[in-house]
């Protein structure tokens, strides 16, 4: 799947090495549901292979159009074909690549994939209350706030709320046309 800035590609076990520094970077994992476990290359490889073999998950690498550089991953989990729903998860591991619109574009691509290819009806996600960047990205794509799970997450020695957001197929179909190219990126 190809956007204007990034494209999504399958990941293989060989990509695991790139993920190891990312998933052990406290600034990256701060907003992820990865838990306290230390991840090594083998664990990452096992995770990628498990996702690829799974009938209820899809995982893509996020790569930059121009250079082909892998900067993170995005995927759908708990895909339920009976209810036609799934959960979205994303990580841009290269911190220098944050704030350039890549996350927003990757999210749009995966949401389109969910509705058009998987024929789902609902894509939901959990995002921690302090992940304002993440919340902004999902709002931009058209996700709506469904509620706040109080004290659902522990980080840095205290409890934080988890925000639940979702986009329905009917909302995505009615989405406004995308704005013209962002001037920051030209």
């Amino acid at each position: 799947m190809t956007g204007s800035q990034v494209y999504l590609r399958p990941l293989t076990g060989d990509d695991a090495a790139a993920f190891v520094p990312w998933v052990n970077d406290a600034e990256v994992t701060r907003t992820l549901a990865v838990g306290a476990a230390v991840m090594d290359r083998q664990a990452e490889q096992a995770w990628i292979e498990k996702m690829n073999a799974s009938g209820s998950d899809v995982l893509f690498g996020i790569a930059i159009q121009e250079t082909g550089r892998l900067i993170g991953s995005i995927g759908l989990n708990q895909i339920d074909f009976r209810y036609r729903g799934a959960s979205l998860g994303m990580m841009i591991g290269e911190k220098s690549m944050w704030g350039k619109g890549y996350g927003t574009e990757a999210t749009r691509l995966v949401v389109r994939y969910a509705f058009e290819k998987l024929h789902l009806n609902r894509v939901q996600l959990h995002v921690y209350e302090y992940n304002l960047r993440g919340i902004r990205v999902y709002e931009k794509v058209g996700f709506r706030l469904e509620g706040v799970l109080r004290q659902e997450h522990v980080y840095d020695g205290r409890f934080w709320d988890t925000v639940v957001m979702a986009i329905l197929r009917e909302e995505w179909e009615k989405r406004p046309a995308l704005p013209e190219a962002d001037p920051r990126k030209t």
Binding site: V148, R150, F159
Partner: protein
């Protein structure tokens, strides 16, 4: 009372036993209860009941208890916990009443209250939560009276009988009433 685990005023909660399989099988194959449980959209017969019995064995925090009337020693329904998250200190609650009786709500409130005390005071959890069908206003009210808050509404989250249904997430946090 036989093997009580938690004792209330009119009911008590006890571990499920192989003798309970016939009533569990009867309940879990009824359409109304199958819908609540979600798991049982496939015809499962006795294996659904076996699943309940197995749960407790596989994980110390996967708990399934029978709700039993003290006076008559009849099992009225089931209440349980699963999906413990130790790191984030929360756990999920689930229940159903097999028999729709006039006293059902009172018994259910009592059972929920016993589990709330167990989750906060014994397991030391910080948060207890559950999913409820958004159309189940009575259950939502009952839980609100027990100190739960309606935290989120998951739109078109399930597909039942040819249409989408919303799911409500109810949550209770330690120190915020009810515990």
């Amino acid at each position: 009372m036989r093997n009580p685990f938690h004792i209330g005023t009119d009911i008590y909660l006890r571990p499920l036993e192989p003798e309970d399989v016939p009533s569990l099988t009867d309940w879990t194959t009824r359409p109304a209860i199958r819908t609540v449980l979600d798991l049982f959209y496939r015809p499962l017969g006795q294996s659904a009941a076996d699943l309940f019995l197995e749960r407790t064995k596989n994980d110390a925090h996967d708990i399934a208890l029978g709700i039993v009337a003290q006076e008559t020693e009849t099992m009225l329904g089931f209440i349980g916990l699963n999906r413990i998250d130790q790191e984030n200190s929360h756990i999920q609650l689930g229940f159903f009443l097999g028999e729709q009786k006039a006293d059902g709500e009172r018994y259910l409130s009592e059972a929920v209250g016993l589990m709330q005390r167990y989750v906060f005071a014994v397991l030391g959890m910080n948060r207890l939560w559950l999913y409820v069908d958004a159309a189940e206003a009575r259950t939502i009210n009952l839980l609100e009276r027990q100190g739960f808050v309606r935290e989120a509404t998951l739109r078109q989250d399930r597909y039942l009988d040819g249409q989408y249904a919303d799911t409500v997430v109810m949550g209770q946090v330690r120190g915020y009433g009810g515990d």
